[in-house]
């Protein structure tokens, strides 16, 4: 506690997780799919990979990102469905609406059924946090027909580990002050945020439980894990100060994805798609009076692997030209493999309000003003006739086809 009377409250972070979200949504729309193995994957694509699978298919050995041919070989009786991303997004929005009645601090992923809700300090309005968790689950079960896991912890990390522990159904309350005791006996792979190579290294050191990792101090961890030692040290003790982001606070990003009709490693085609996605993001940022300070490119390869790289600028931008420049820099960094690419996702984050302040030296910004005028004219046309009506530079028209998430906003 500080002398000014500020006091850190124990946080109440709820995590809701619908296991196999896409499958759960499909089963709501078609009850006959219940209790049967189900694989969701783009069926037309030449080398489709598994988007999601049911618990039954998982039990047979099917995994996300696995080539569809291999998955159907393992689980021969599985029902196959093409992903309906829009439907999953709609279900996410309905779930989100339920949560918004309890807290403004909600963090969620892309159509994956994960929600973190910070209900700290809401007890006078809605009662104790476990009761909120239970009630949300009950309402979601009644109104949406899906049965989420709910867990309660003092941080996102603890709540997430608890979710992983009870998956696919259940609930878990980790009492404040018992975080380290709760984590200690659990296998190390339940700790979020560990890369494959880190997990492998931990196995080599015979650190198989989170408790074993927690026994090592930061200096000991620094030798094999370098700058990651602090995260590992804190996480193994259940310490996580990260905030639950709210979309309004700009912590969520603007997110567009394009899946290629045929897997490609054509550099020009990739750059064209990235430029188009940057144009769409710029259009949306300008409409929201926001600027982004970071652009990330996610490349998903034919073999299920993925690479993420980012580029950032000190002052935020909503200009197509600058966003495109950042996106191409990130793409350049991401192109580390020769394997063909299945899909490309562009994420603009670190958003902030566009400053209304004008420059002191307008004569230096003639070029910028001209570009703004061009963008303004393009925005007017796009608002009226659609995004594909006009493009600049490398931007290419990207068709939005059924069952494909091309150019669809994720958030």
């Amino acid at each position: 506690m500080s002398s000014q009377g500020f006091r850190l409250r124990e946080r109440d972070v709820l995590h809701f997780n619908v296991a196999d979200f896409a499958v759960a949504v499909e089963r709501v729309t078609d009850g006959s799919l219940r209790g049967r193995p189900l694989i969701i994957a783009p069926l037309q694509a030449a080398r489709a990979v598994v988007y999601d699978m049911s618990e039954e298919a998982y039990g047979e050995g099917v995994r996300k990102g696995m080539p569809l041919r291999q998955a159907t070989g393992i689980c021969r009786g599985a029902e196959l469905l093409a992903p309906r991303v829009r439907l999953y997004q709609k279900a996410m929005q309905a779930f989100l609406k339920e949560l918004q009645g309890y807290s403004p601090l909600i963090e969620y992923g892309q159509a994956d059924g994960h929600f973190f809700v910070d209900v700290t300090g809401t007890h006078r309005l809605y009662g104790p946090a476990p009761d909120v968790g239970w009630r949300v689950r009950r309402h979601v079960r009644t109104s949406l027909g899906i049965n989420p896991i709910w867990t309660l912890g003092t941080s996102k990390l603890v709540a997430k580990v608890a979710s992983r522990l009870v998956k696919p159904v259940g609930e878990y309350i980790v009492t404040a002050g018992e975080e380290a005791i709760f984590l200690a006996p659990l296998p190390i792979h339940l700790l979020p945020g560990l890369s494959g190579s880190e997990l492998q290294k931990l196995q080599e050191f015979q650190l198989t439980t989170i408790g074993a990792l927690a026994k090592l101090n930061c200096h000991q961890l620094m030798v094999p894990f370098g700058s990651r030692c602090e995260y590992l040290h804190a996480a193994s003790r259940g310490i996580d100060d990260s905030r639950v982001g709210s979309p309004g606070a700009g912590l969520q990003g603007i997110d567009y994805e394009h899946t290629f009709a045929d897997d490609t490693n054509d550099r020009r085609q990739l750059e064209g798609v990235v430029a188009t996605l940057a144009g769409r993001a710029g259009f949306r940022l300008r409409a929201q009076q926001q600027v982004a300070r970071r652009v990330g490119i996610w490349l998903r390869y034919s073999d299920g692997g993925h690479v993420v790289r980012q580029a950032s600028c000190r002052t935020g931008t909503s200009s197509d030209f600058l966003l495109q420049q950042l996106a191409l820099t990130a793409l350049q960094r991401a192109l580390t493999r020769r394997t063909r690419i299945r899909s490309c996702r562009l994420v603009c984050d670190r958003l902030q309000r566009r400053s209304p302040q004008l420059s002191l030296f307008p004569e230096q910004e003639q070029g910028q003003l001209r570009r703004q005028k061009v963008l303004g004219a393009m925005d007017s046309l796009r608002k009226r006739f659609g995004h594909g009506v006009i493009s600049v530079g490398r931007q290419v028209p990207v068709d939005i086809s059924a069952g494909d998430s091309s150019g669809l906003p994720i958030h």
């Binding site: 007890h123 809605y126 009662g127 104790p128 968790g133 609930e171």
Partner: protein, 291 residues
């Protein structure tokens, strides 16, 4: 409030009676407590000192009360490791009642027998300090044949544990139900709640001579069916109401039981511990009046 020195067994009183039937003097210890103890709101409302962490609450609670009803076992399955740690940290005089998990009461499933097995294992660390397992049934659990069969099977599964049953549906308020509970030596929970149609009434029936069990939910008629706990349990009992309750209900129940537990569920703004303390003072006055 918790800093007061309340003696070795706070908020408990031994009431004495002379049996009308036999003329023999007997006593009935009565313990007062609350439904749950871990509420951040009780820090804001001044029951716990400012800055109290969750882990410190049970110790502080034990300075004021001798019994607590564990309600988190309703939200999630009781886990032996967590309860063992809690018992280890709890004051030595503190006794417990534990709610049965909702998967056997409000969200009944076909696998309830497995759930019951898990629950029994989970509450094992409480064994020597467990006064009752509270089986709280939902308002829509009426006295249908299916529900009667389910309840009978559930009570069979809990036969060697001290069980208290709380009905919310008025259809269970019949002599045949009370007789069956008496035969099974299962405690019927007496409730103090708003008088609303369809709700189980406030009664002074004792079905188990070993224990009577009372839950004070508050008398907030408007909030009861609001679906919001903060409205439902927002009620502050006055001293007159508690005295009148003691005269009408406590004395007859204590006269035919060996022990009694009284829990306040009106947790909003820490009214439960405040009312609990108020009732304990009234009981202490009754005890002195006997002398």
């Amino acid at each position: 409030m918790v800093s007061e020195n309340n003696g070795p067994c706070p908020a408990s009183v031994e009431l004495s009676f002379v049996s009308e039937a036999t003329g023999v003097a007997r006593s009935c210890p009565v313990y007062v407590g609350t439904c749950g103890y871990s509420y951040t709101e009780w820090v804001d409302s001044g029951f716990y000192p400012e800055g109290t962490k969750s882990a410190e609450m049970l110790g502080l609670y034990g300075r004021c009360f001798s019994v607590v009803e564990l309600n988190y076992t309703w939200y999630q399955m009781a886990r032996a490791d967590a309860l063992a740690r809690m018992v280890e940290k709890a004051p030595a005089h503190l006794l417990f009642a534990a709610k049965l998990t909702r998967t056997m009461t409000h969200e009944r499933d076909d696998n309830w027998r497995e759930q019951l097995h898990l629950y029994r294992q989970g509450i094992e660390p409480l064994k020597n300090r467990l006064l009752a397992v509270l089986l709280q049934l939902p308002p829509d659990f009426d006295r249908s044949i299916a529900n009667r069969n389910y309840l009978a099977a559930l009570l069979d599964g809990l036969h060697d544990l001290p069980v208290a049953v709380e009905f919310r549906h008025c259809s269970w308020a019949t002599d045949s139900v009370f007789a069956e509970l008496e035969r099974r030596r299962v405690t019927l929970v007496a409730i103090d709640a708003p008088s609303l149609p369809g709700l189980f009434p406030s009664l002074d029936v004792v079905t188990n001579p070993a224990l009577f069990y009372v839950r004070f939910h508050g008398r907030n008629k408007e909030g009861w069916r609001s679906g919001n706990m903060q409205k439902k349990f927002n009620y502050d009992y006055s001293e007159e109401e508690l005295r009148a309750w003691c005269d009408s209900y406590l004395q007859p129940m204590a006269a035919c039981a060996d022990r009694g537990i009284l829990f306040f569920n009106n947790h909003v703004r820490a009214m439960a511990p405040r009312n609990g303390r108020k009732l304990a003072v009234i009981l202490a006055g009754l005890r002195q009046g006997e002398r």
